[in-house]
Symmetry: C2
Subunit: 309 residues, 2 copies
């Protein structure tokens, strides 16, 4: 268990970024939506088909350029179980194209319930002796508020598989400090305390690059904290949201990397999905616009941090 | 927006409990499983059909006795989108029987993503001018680690509907103290700080009983903290897991109630779902066993706290 497969992809593609697949209907070109609504009606099925078709186009265009995609569960759950089928289909398609899939679910619970989430998103489920995969991502984002009882079941379940998790440490949103920035009796912040738990949880799962299977989510919008955490948590790989639309730039995210250009995977969702709208591309060129934006983002970061690995 | 409908049910049925619907295949009688596997194969569809059939039997037997049910998302997600369809069907069936449904998802995210979760679990989704419900619970459990950005979108979305949320404050598991019990620079614990945020978030959504739409999850396994929080958070209704299997008893949970017998809803999941196995009932009497256990639990708590309302 580790994040090595993900890091291999980052080095091979010389690209430390991940594309968020957070499809809202308003991001999707009309020709896709109309086609799906004609086939399945203006229904949850129709919407779910549009999400998957849109994603497929993005994946087909991006899989040689980026190492990973990050579907956000909420945007699929919003369209009911039909939407969850689109999540399943998206993950399966991305993996078939060799992409590393981070399922952004921020799941959290305890004991056997957390085990059920681990099985749902990273493992296999048994039905009377038959084995099935349910969503089958390569990594899952999780929330550590419940302590070790919410994390260890994931590590147990994934012990045999080459999979990992990302624990929320310092999130990118404006109000993230309300709890995360408070100093404890010992002068350490809540986010640093959570980060240090990641180092402990990951200690037995360190891969060939020195990073463990337990990563952390640290927002690009807080560069000072990103730098502090990079220094303090040497074995914890960072998933970094907040680049682009939320305000983080290349100088900010650079602080999340180590000397080898490893240690951080920078996410962009809307920036890439909606590039066709922002730059006035024709609808049918939405994937081409996504590629241009993904390349621009890659180059911007690589120019700043240098060759990776 | 409030928890008034839930509290109305508690008073009418004189029963401050909620039945957790966390169906694992091993809890389900063989005759149900075999029937479903014959119809749908030993597949995710077959498993999902067994979950729903099992739940339907429980709901049919319990809906006159308990005011609420609490399906735990993880046990449905484990069986893929097919399992999520069973979650949808379970919620719809329980609501049709007049039960208040708390979807236990512990969801968390920010901004438009949290809005998507709010729509998924409490609201309605638009598809080209058509409106659909996705999962449509009455309340959702959420995790507040991300601060207000993760909570306000729920309140906005549900502002028009009579729905509520329960924020994790002090959870029932052994390791809950790793983060939640740490004292901050101001001597207040993390869990108390989160609890006080619930009071602030709920301030504009206080219902006729004096409780707001923003409840809190507080475990029965920490009676001292339950008592402290009941005193400190006068407008926050508690969802209390940890009764029975996890070790909390009637004396413990009694500390979560106010003078009127309101303020807490005590959850039992395995205790009720698995009563037929524990007490050696015939398979086909699983729902009868659940009723006996639910009545026993109700009476045990009512004997301790007195008439409600």
């Amino acid at each position: 268990m580790s994040l090595d497969r993900m890091i291999d992809g980052v080095i091979t593609k010389q690209n430390p970024t991940v594309v968020g697949l957070d499809p809202k209907l308003e991001y999707i070109p009309d020709y896709i939506k109309q086609d799906c609504f004609t086939k399945y009606g203006k229904t949850l099925e129709g919407a779910a088909a549009a999400l998957f078709t849109f994603n497929k186009g993005l994946i087909d265009a991006l899989y040689t350029i980026v190492p990973a995609v990050k579907p956000q569960c909420a945007y699929y759950e919003m369209y009911g179980w039909q939407g969850m089928k689109a999540l399943h289909d998206t993950i399966a398609y991305a993996k078939q194209k060799g992409l590393f899939v981070i399922t952004d679910g921020k799941r959290n619970d305890i004991g056997t319930t957390m085990e059920a989430y681990a099985i749902a998103h990273l493992g296999q489920v048994e039905v009377e002796g038959e084995s099935y995969v349910s969503f089958d991502g390569d990594a899952l984002t999780v929330n550590g508020y419940l302590g070790s009882d919410g994390i260890l079941p994931l590590l147990n379940i994934c012990g045999q598989e080459d999979k990992g998790i990302f624990v929320l440490v310092k999130t990118s949103n404006p109000s993230s400090g309300e709890l995360q920035n408070i100093n404890l009796y010992n002068q350490k912040s809540v986010y640093l305390t959570m980060g240090q738990m990641c180092e402990i949880w990951g200690e037995r799962y360190i891969g060939k690059y020195g990073y463990s299977a337990v990563g952390a989510v640290v927002g690009a919008t807080y560069p000072k904290q990103l730098e502090e955490l990079r220094t303090t948590l040497p074995h914890t790989f960072f998933l970094v949201p907040g680049y682009g639309a939320q305000g983080g730039g290349a100088d900010d995210v650079a602080l999340g990397f180590d000397q080898r250009g490893l240690g951080a995977l920078i996410n962009s969702s809307r920036g890439i999905m909606c590039a066709w709208q922002k730059y006035g591309f024709a609808e049918r060129d939405y994937a081409k616009a996504a590629v241009e934006e993904a390349v621009r983002m890659r180059d911007e970061i690589i120019n700043r941090i240098g060759t990776i690995g």
